[in-house]
């Protein structure tokens, strides 16, 4: 197979695998979210139904973005993609709050093949998708997707995170790493930098494999995009929200699917 075709085939397979895995939860799990002084954290990244249990698929780390408190982009020290779990170490040299995220942007297209009338699908990037759809295709449907899975670590005194402005984004009234059992944490969910109103947010504590009920907290943002939660127990929690709109960047894309997940640590 020509190298270009092989690369395209591999990329498509990888992206299709991601599409299949979307039914599962994508999560990052840092070893800790609070450090007294500059140190390192190690992070698990996987996709599975059981929260924080890597029993399904490893997360692709190609789009790993680590942001230092001053806004600088950092690289993972070492990383590995195992069968069911990806893992990477991050050195955190400055005081302040770090953002560790895997950000995916993709395009999904479906159409009817002109000759056979068979439905076809393809997954690609905003740049590549036009080339993947035959010119004579009918019933072309193009959807964009924007997904962010992230967690946060604070060294010493917390600092305000630089806003993203694209897709769904979580902002804390205080700090995203200041969650304590029994105390109330207040958040704002933004969509493209604006309050995400009336959006459902699900928050689930880890350890689902050890209990009979999922015990997911279902909340809704108000008209300022705000919601708050009083933490029932200490531990790692997974927060997720998603939405669909038509704010696409590709002209031929009619719909944009936006998804967001964050791992928050609640101290005892």
């Amino acid at each position: 197979m020509k190298p270009i075709l092989r690369t395209a085939a591999v990329a498509t397979t990888a992206l299709l695998a991601t599409l299949a895995a979307q039914a599962h939860n994508a999560w990052l799990l840092p070893s800790t979210t609070v450090l007294s002084k500059p140190d390192r954290v190690t992070v698990d990244a996987a996709i599975s139904n059981d929260l924080f249990v890597a029993n399904h698929a490893a997360m692709n780390l190609d789009n790993l973005q680590i942001t230092a408190p001053d806004g600088a982009a950092l690289k993972a020290e070492t990383q590995a993609k195992l069968r069911q779990r990806s893992v990477f170490d991050v050195e955190l040299p400055q005081p302040g709050t770090y953002r560790i995220a895997v950000v995916n942007a993709g395009v999904f297209a479906s159409w009817k093949d002109k000759a056979t009338g068979q439905p076809k699908r393809a997954r690609g990037t905003a740049e590549s998708i036009a080339g993947q759809i035959p010119a004579d295709a009918t019933d072309v449907n193009v959807t964009q997707s924007v997904g962010r899975n992230e967690t946060f670590v604070t060294v010493g005194k917390p600092s305000a995170l630089k806003p993203i402005g694209v897709g769904l984004e979580l902002v804390a009234a205080g700090s995203l790493t200041d969650n304590v059992k029994g105390e109330k944490s207040s958040f704002t969910l933004l969509l493209d930098g604006q309050p995400a109103k009336d959006l459902e947010v699900g928050i689930t504590a880890g350890g689902t494999v050890y209990r009979d009920k999922l015990e997911e907290l279902k909340l809704k943002t108000d008209d300022k995009g705000q919601f708050s939660v009083t933490w029932p127990a200490a531990g790692m929690y997974w927060l997720e929200a998603s939405t669909r709109d038509n704010k696409t960047t590709l002209p031929q894309a009619k719909e944009r699917r936006v998804s967001y997940s964050a791992t928050l640590e609640v101290a005892p």
């Binding site: 450090l35 007294s36 002084k37 140190d39 010493g156 005194k157 200041d178 304590v180 101290a267 005892p268």
Partner: protein
């Protein structure tokens, strides 16, 4: 001349009255003797919280300080965040070591500290309700917080006590007007 400025002597005597003997605070912290196979001296922080739970001042922090023989790499600060409540209330804003505040971990027993209002670390305290809070965290062990409420300024010499269950023994506040 004496009659022209009748208020002068009174004003002068007010100037020479000087500050009243400053009020003081005695803090006694008991670290319990524990019977465990792997014992590490606890990290301890003692601070004063206002009625709204904000930190007024940190009085003492005992942790693995950097010395030539013990802990030469200064790793001891790594576990300061395990004093969770102190850390969040304001401990994380401090740069340790601090003269007169931080020091090495202490052995089991009763430890007496004494503070005078106006000299560090006990700055002037506005009148009101306060709590002396002591937090202890022990490696391969637990963590406990004990608080003792008190009123400031003290009207008379008084003391208040609270006792921990596991990681702290008796914590006593002595008020010295």
């Amino acid at each position: 001349m004496q009659l022209r400025y009748p208020l002068a002597p009174i004003a002068l005597s007010a100037l020479f009255a000087g500050p009243a003997i400053a009020a003081g605070l005695g803090v006694n912290i008991e670290i319990p003797r524990l019977n465990v196979s792997e014992y590490h001296r606890p990290y301890v922080a003692a601070w004063i919280e206002r009625a709204d739970s904000s930190m007024a001042t940190t009085l003492a922090v005992w942790y693995d300080v950097r010395t030539k023989t013990n802990n030469p790499e200064g790793e001891g600060t790594k576990w300061l965040k395990d004093l969770r409540q102190w850390w969040r209330r304001g401990g994380r804003e401090l740069a340790v070591p601090i003269d007169g505040v931080t020091g090495a971990t202490k052995p089991a027993g009763k430890h007496a500290l004494s503070f005078t209002e106006g000299s560090k670390p006990l700055a002037q305290l506005a009148p009101g309700s306060y709590k002396l809070v002591v937090e202890a965290a022990r490696e391969v062990g637990g963590r406990e917080v004990v608080s003792v409420p008190f009123q400031w300024p003290p009207a008379k010499a008084d003391s208040a006590t609270a006792t921990g269950k596991e990681e702290l023994g008796e914590v006593k506040v002595e008020l010295k007007p």
